[in-house]
Amino acid sequence: TPLQRMSPSTTWRLIYLQVFEARKEIRETGYYTAIKSVNPSRVFVVRKDQDIYIQTLRKLFNESHGIFIGLQRSEEELAGKSRKAQLVQVSKNYRSVIRACMEDMHQAASKFVSILSAMELIWNLCEILFVEAAAAGPLLLRLLDWVRLHVCDVDNMVREVLSSENPSKHELFWNVVDVFVLQGRMDEARHLLAKEASANPTSVNMYKTLDDLMKKMPVPSLGNTQTLTEMELKWQHWHEECQRYLQDGTFASNSHMESICKILLGDEDAILEKKELLATWYQFLVTRLLYSHPTVKPMELRFYAQSSMDLFLGGESSPEPLDTILMAAFEFEMHQVIKECSIALSNWWFVAHLTDLLDHCKLLQSHNLYFGSNMREFLLLEYASGLFSHHSLWQLGVDYFDHCPEYGRVYLELHIERIPLNTEQKALKVLRICEQRQMHEQVRSICKIMAMKALRNNRLGSALSWSIRAKDAAFATLISDRFLKDYCERGCFSDLDLIDNLGPSMLLSDRLTFLGKYREFHRLYGEKRFSEAAKLLLMLMTAHIAPCSFWMTLLTDALPLLEQKEVIFSAEQTYELMRCLEDLTAGKSDKQKFQDDDVETMKVEMLRLALARNLARVIVKEGTLEGS
């Protein structure tokens, strides 16, 4: 089927309806295509998957938009540590928005909760490895936090045991202790063990030893209190001590405690025995690192990650998309992470924002795709384009396009013209966006559409208002012609409130000016200010403000002024009028003169007569000396 290349992340569902007389309304937004085949009308309606527009995701889009803008505007001059801290904060902000949405969605669809949860998991790991670029030492601590935050399968069990009356007698007691140990939560493990110790006075010594070992375990510190080498040394000593106790058989009588000791020693088999408690291979990885290589360097992670996954999955199950993504992150293959996420997740939100952040961390080389723009821009463009098919989220899309230096402008120009303008307020918002970006073509086009709509609905004032906004002289002329046509047909003006109050907008087009002035003439005449009216009337013709087609009407309007008792037009003015009349009649071809009906010829005759009479009177008047 000749369908276009689909963006890999959007899922398309083909719905085909057997319609006999296809009279479905095609929505104007969205990507609808109807492919009619020759055979009995089968209409294929291709619809975009609607998951992007779920209610709660809107919160995600809106909040992240604010964070995105803040990041683009943030201080680029900050260097080194402060810039990194700033970027880490941005990353944390994004994550907190995801978590907030997870909480909102809790009641609703659990499918989306797990997607958001996966997103946060991946983002968090990327923050640790890429944005913060945690070094050996702090790296382990961060990974421990990461795992604790996200592996909550065991939380219920933990809660159950802790809240029971006699935890040490609970059947899952040792499971919980194991969980604490596996997650490196030493204090909590020791606390539980103490309860067991008090219940079994005979094994007090054993407990004391284990407790001591757990207490003394060296962990990397976040501050600068010890160097890595110091820590490694301490750890080596502690490791050997644990080894000694194990080999001495100190814990031989209690299998649980013995296995804990083995875990402390980083014994892989011992750890793997607790597979159900570990739940995931990355939990296994972190536990391994904690107890065998606490000073692991970032670049060493990939080896441990790969082996952890292999050991944990053991060839029974194959990696899922999430596993592939996390593995790519451990291997520091940023582009791979982004690519896998694009495929796995059904909307562009995640990859667009993450890539933008990584780009700000200056971590992405300009990875030129075949049409020349870089990865960050490509993803942002795709994301923003998706927003534009929504009736109100398109506003967010504008800002994203603004920050795509190569193609953003073009995309914006194309998209913004396709926003349905169902109210004037929406049109005004779109216009404002266009004006702020000097998109003059679009301004003109939108104003023309709105003006035309208004004109069709007989809202002449609205139509004029749109023409003024676009400074569209041609349309203003069109509107004025409408008014004048109305006047000629009905003999009076409609919408006087508009024409009487044109103000400086009158100058937008000659026709509009004429309309305003013509109306003024009528007003002056109504107020019996005849000489002013006369002057104005003449000026309309001599200054060529009036269109030629209207001159006859104007001259006819002059008749009552000519017929007044007192003389209004001066000789000079009368000559002008006569000239105008002659220009008008001379302009007509003989054929036209022949076609002119009696009314027309009579009008001309009357005018000539009136002008002549006026001339006669005025010559006498002007020739007469005053007071003599």
């Binding site: 169902n422 918002k429 004032g461 609205s462 208002s465």
Partner: protein, 353 residues
């Protein structure tokens, strides 16, 4: 759900927000119930909501329980908020209150752009240039002025109980006397210079001749409708359309405007700092605190003065990181509520702290 009363008054509701074409009612807690630091604990709680057909262009409380909503489809609906079980229901509807006259040649619908209430009367205006006068519980319109304006009417407010003010998209402010039968405005005021469209209008709560309007260029105009046909002062304010302007109902030397440019400005002409009023009481009809005392007398000249720099006027932008348009705002006592195009609602409960 907490038993906090909803924040609303008989005049304008501070707490109706529109979300994805729904009418929602939220509780933001007791006005007087602020903590030790004056900080409000907790977020606004959604009490109930109901679907709405079309965009919500404007809305107003008719009384303690009923809300009138203007839709982009041209329909005007009265919703009833049942406080006992926290539900909303559509009580009454005037379909096609606003539409283009000639249905055959008309191109698209006409939105209802503004609504104002003075129980039981409801006045609406729209893109069709029509003014409707409805009465709650009456099926048909009491009065309709077709083609009252050749351009779009953007907003309406009551001047007196029988007179209304409208603003339109060719920069005109018109007074209509509803007692008169003729379909002409009793007075027309225009902007000087370019006829920039006016989007909002509000009348001073105590000085009925003082009117403020906001325009498409973001300019705030103050008019004295007793005299002249032009604004008394023009104040360069926002960088884009001013969507709403509101005098503070009980302390009118404070004015608030919000705009497409994403800012919300607080205009403060109060001259005596020491006399800051206290607002720690319930809202409602209690506007008698500032009845004709000295504060208002000095204020009259402040709003109408030609030189705002002479009388001390403080202007503050209340939004630190502005991004998208602030479409609507409302104020009651010390509480300010506004909504933005980022689909967020903000509540500021210590306006005068």
């Amino acid at each position: 759900p907490r038993p906090d009363p909803t924040l609303h008054t008989t005049k304008t509701g501070g707490v109706i927000f529109v979300q994805d074409n729904r009418i929602s009612i939220w509780s933001v807690g007791d006005l007087g119930n602020v903590g030790l630091n004056g900080e409000y604990q907790g977020e606004p709680q959604l009490l109930c909501d109901i679907r709405h057909n079309g965009d919500v262009m404007d809305m107003q409380f008719l009384d303690q329980e009923r809300i009138v909503v203007a839709s982009s489809t041209g329909t005007v609906t009265v919703f009833h908020h049942h406080q006992n079980n926290q539900t909303l229901s559509a009580n009454q509807r005037w379909e096609k209150a606003h539409s283009h006259v000639d249905q055959d040649t008309s191109c698209g619908g006409a939105a209802c752009t503004g609504v104002i209430c003075n129980n039981p009367e409801i006045v609406t205006v729209g893109e069709d240039g029509r003014i409707n006068l409805f009465r709650a519980d009456q099926k048909d319109a009491v009065r309709t002025i077709d083609n009252a304006d050749s351009s779009t009417l953007h907003a309406v407010t009551f001047l007196r109980t029988t007179e209304i003010l409208t603003v339109n998209s060719i920069g005109q402010l018109k007074i209509w006397d509803l007692r008169q039968q003729r379909n002409e405005p009793s007075q027309i005021f225009s902007l000087t210079g370019d006829r920039v469209p006016l989007h909002c209008v509000d009348r001073h709560p105590n000085q009925q001749h003082v009117v403020a309007t906001g325009g498409q260029d973001g300019m705030l105009s103050v008019w004295d409708i007793r005299q002249g046909t032009m604004p008394v002062s023009l104040l360069n304010a926002h960088e884009a359309e001013m969507w709403e302007v509101h005098f503070h109902p009980s302390n009118p030397d404070h004015l608030f405007t919000c705009s497409e440019d994403g800012s919300l400005w607080h205009w403060d002409t109060s001259t005596d700092v020491a006399e800051k009023p206290s607002f720690l009481h319930q809202g409602g009809r209690s506007t008698t605190y500032f009845s004709h005392n000295t504060i208002n007398q000095s204020v009259v000249s402040a709003w109408l003065s030609n030189d705002p720099t002479k009388d001390r006027m403080e202007i503050t932008n209340l939004i630190p990181n502005q991004t998208l348009s602030v479409n609507s705002l409302d104020i009651l006592g010390p509480c300010l509520v506004y909504g933005t195009d980022a689909e967020a609602i903000y509540v500021n409960r210590q306006l005068f702290a």
